[in-house]
Subunit: 342 residues, 4 copies
């Protein structure tokens, strides 16, 4: 049986990545592609790498017959997403890739995003889309909120440790190195090749990055108490990939065991042998996340490094993984593509 | 039915690319991976991006039972390849990715490669592996010689024009821009990141690049007379991708029509609308080749630009496409992966 | 004696490059920096790499006392430049880095730039700023028009050959590989890191690039007859650098001799030994241009490759070289900085 | 008066960087360039970007008349350096860029480098070359030991805080992002463009990097007690630049004040306004180090980010700064070159 799929916001990077993955999926058919300013254009012009695919043209949202759709991916900007989603048919299954439905608490949402939420009922109902930890809820959900790409990386590097109670919850530092596609196809000076290549810098320093809202919500829920991590992202001259270096306090071997146990049956979460460290090179274009644990010369400390592709496992691949669950398909279907190296 | 596959030279980039593609192929099983200096190592250590695959360890060639193999890919260095291949069982189907069996004329081989050929019978028998132009022969072949990656790009940009007689055969210039993975995983000073990134240079200037042997052989055969193109490759700071800019003399519209007709049924050769030019960004990691034709302000001249991924369509993807024909599989099987952008 | 310098358009890349070079010049003092939208900002915020310099803040042009200025660099967008320059005091020495005063013929200007020129008297008076070929005129000029960066590279690769009459004037092909900073600090999708890194493409194909106006003017003047070259630029993933590969017909040794003679006393134009080819890596951040000549296996053809840094020798370095002549300083003063490698 | 300079190990990146800087210095003359395997070659062939300079050819060390030399830079590999330096004339001033004389304690040296030191007298006598903190000693020294490039960056980010007693000495984390030229011009698989571009990874994780020997020595000396930091370097796809992100516990404002006071008269150490963060882009090719301090949402914590160019301020620029002091020249002479951006 073929499921009918729509993508709203198909002219951005996560939209294109969804199409790339869906093109290799045996059970899905893309029947509608929605966009704003690029409505009316052909995908071959917006994304020439999709030229060979037989895709519908980009249309404005009101031209889409949502009654004929089984599942809709929303790859829209934050805030726009909630405005659009609240108008979609009540029964439609939705995977949202924006930040709009990640936080359950309306106040937390307002604090991090600066405006009151405009679809609070749906905010309450939405399921957090970190597949490996919300499988059952996602399979039954109508609306799944894809996680932030940084938030996904940090959680893969920390959740098993918080659950297992093997680290000091008051002293967690997350230093992230992020590829540029996470910022989307937006025209900003700091995203120009001339400004970005051959160098690096920190941004959103000091606890101001919005993905902290997700860390706070998820880690506190997991620990049953307030957990606030320190999180500093850095922009590196690479298009894809996030490397999270987590500095934690605890016994390295217990920490390693917590990962081994938590992830032993996970198809996409690969735990490296103790003492090895992953690289974003080795997950590029794939839905895999590599995780390494090492000890430290200073007793009682460990370093956890996690690597994933922000557009795939951190966003569109995760979204497809969730859609697979929601539509009763094999969870890994369309997602086993091997990383592209070099 | 599953075909048993061996790869000799699995520790190089084309070997790894073969594994990436074969992992997504429904009808093939990799049963042996051969290597020299890295024999004894696990693929997860040699290429961590293949970590999640259940692959045989690297072994030396004498440990492989070739009687149990249906088809063997040889991704070995030039000259080594002929020494190895002449010792393989007579009935074994082989796709060779080296330069050793590309040239039919022993003298031409010696001129370009500097040594007498050591397996002349097989050299005579081998079929040139440019799939789109040798399909029937490849389907029946025992030994197929994969083309040079530059040679493939240049031929996709020129063969239909030579066949159709629409260009001046005595004035063809091929200016290529080549990603660095074409040089393999070899330790050379000029391949270091510090030497290569953020700049470009020509190399093998003046008609000395070995792929000219292929151009001479193929274009002359096609034209029924001697054809000698001028070919200058340039190294650009990119891992994958070759862009061929061909300067030809002829009527641009006739040139465009020659491509439209020749490639209209080709699944991997995509002809862009007249006046558009392709980019290597849009074929990365895929088996597609994009081709564009534009006119020139100077009457009677045209520019043809072709873009492909040297490791895929230029090498390992082409090899799999040939193997599909040799083993009676669908030609496109395992090769329809969408380019990875950005 | 210290000359007082103003820069209009100091918030762009060529403006910043001028400041970098002027900071190391013993005889110049920057007394005014003009900008449009960034007027009011400090240079340390606009270009943090200039943070340690004691620079005037950016101001709007009407805040500058041009009576106190000895020489004004205009690094403004095309068309804006002529509007601004025609209002400057009549006696002020000006080096313009835009395209506005490069073409002598009003009709040619209109053809290439699409609008009638708004300062025709000054257009007639302006001296073309290719220093090595217009020294005497530049020394006496009031208004010098900096060349296009592609135009400079192509001319360094061809002028001595046209002058010496050693090549076929009807069959010249210029294939350029251009770093991205030539496009300026402008917010365009194709200049984003995610769109540009790790790939290449041709642009302005078919004889449509505006720098052809300069080639036509200069080469025809030099030859005493119409000369029209074929010129195709390509964007490569590098911030600085242009590599021009020129395909010409003539005797390689005579061609080499023409360069040796023409450039033997030139401090910035370095002719490599016959058969060697230059690289943009080796001129980065400097005012040097490296030029190599090789023969071809096809008799009567040669390849000339020229490499320079588009922001330095191709633009701001050239501008300073011209200013030195105009102000009676040593021509090389402030310009002998060694290329930055790696 | 012109000082006569020799460079041993001139065929590596730090050697080339020394030549670049010395070429712009009014008081130095390079009279000898020593090398091992490349002895006999011309610098124009080893480093074509130095082509225009009138440099002596590379010679083996025994061909150098050290009696005619005023100061010798040693840019040799670790261990080789001590073997060479102990044989140099007793009165010769030496700036060593290797790791051999950085550690005062023979036991610490052996622990970190794995072999007993072969020139213990000189090890004891050598002065640590972090100019801003050892000026007086350096001015009088015969042998100055250039610091590790990571060690320099980390110390610029932490020394004033340890001296001022404003941070918790038992909880200091240094996360470094390092450009690839720090690894030198060595042929290693992980330094190839194809392996390195477009991705990042940690290395020497867990407290195993040799520069920790320098941190331990210097921070403990400064604090008057044992101080052991946690230090994790990461390789990023950039040729030049180190960004150090230091996570410290203390009052952000006091921390900022400690920097303001310590560095207020330093020409090369630029403290950014509170809350701003530096970028390696903005120090490229220069001897400047930019330092930023921000607070954290978690009370009592701060983040210090320092950026410098590993080849300049982290190595060859520092070496020249020290040589200036040793020879009685202005400390900043030849070092005020503006960073190259973009």
């Amino acid at each position: 049986m073929t499921h009918k799929i729509a993508i709203l916001g198909a002219s951005g990077y996560t939209g294109a990545e969804l199409i790339r993955l869906l093109a290799g999926h045996p059970a899905y058919e893309i029947v509608a592609l929605g966009a704003y300013s690029k409505a009316g254009q052909r995908m071959a012009d917006v994304f020439p790498h999709l030229r060979h695919l037989d895709l519908p043209a980009l249309v404005s949202f009101d031209q889409i017959d949502f009654g004929a759709i089984d599942l809709c991916f929303c790859a829209l900007p934050h805030k726009t997403s909630q405005e659009v989603i609240r108008e979609l048919p009540a029964g439609l299954k939705i995977v949202d890739l924006s930040a709009d439905f990640r936080l359950r608490d309306p106040q937390a949402y307002e604090t991090w995003y600066g405006n009151p939420h405009m679809a609070r009922e749906m905010q309450r109902e939405a399921v957090y889309g970190l597949t490996e930890f919300y499988r059952a809820e996602i399979a039954k959900a109508r609306l799944v909120a894809g996680t932030g790409c940084n938030a996904a990386t940090g959680q893969f590097a920390l959740r098993p440790l918080i659950s297992a109670g093997v680290i000091d919850l008051d002293d967690i530092i997350l230093d992230l190195k992020c590829g540029v596609s996470g910022a989307g196809r937006s025209l900003k000076e700091n995203l120009l090749h001339a400004e970005l290549s051959e160098g690096t810098n920190a941004y959103a320093v000091g606890g101001t990055h919005r993905h902290l809202g997700e860390f706070d919500q998820e880690f506190s829920k997991l620990a049953g108490r307030d957990v606030k991590v320190q999180f500093t992202p850095h922009l590196i001259p690479a298009n894809r990939g996030i490397l999270a270096t987590a500095y934690v306090k605890g016994d390295p071997q217990k920490i390693y065991n917590a990962f081994s146990e938590a992830y032993q049956s996970e198809p996409f979460l690969q735990v490296l042998p103790f003492g090895e460290t992953p690289s974003t090179h080795h997950v590029r274009g794939s839905n895999f996340c590599h995780i390494g644990v090492t000890g430290e010369r200073l007793t009682g400390r460990a370093i956890v490094v996690a690597a994933l592709d922000n557009l795939t496992k951190g966003s569109s691949g995760q979204a497809l993984q969730n859609a697979n669950l929601m539509l009763g398909e094999e969870e890994t279907s369309g997602l086993m593509g091997v990383p592209v190296f070099p």
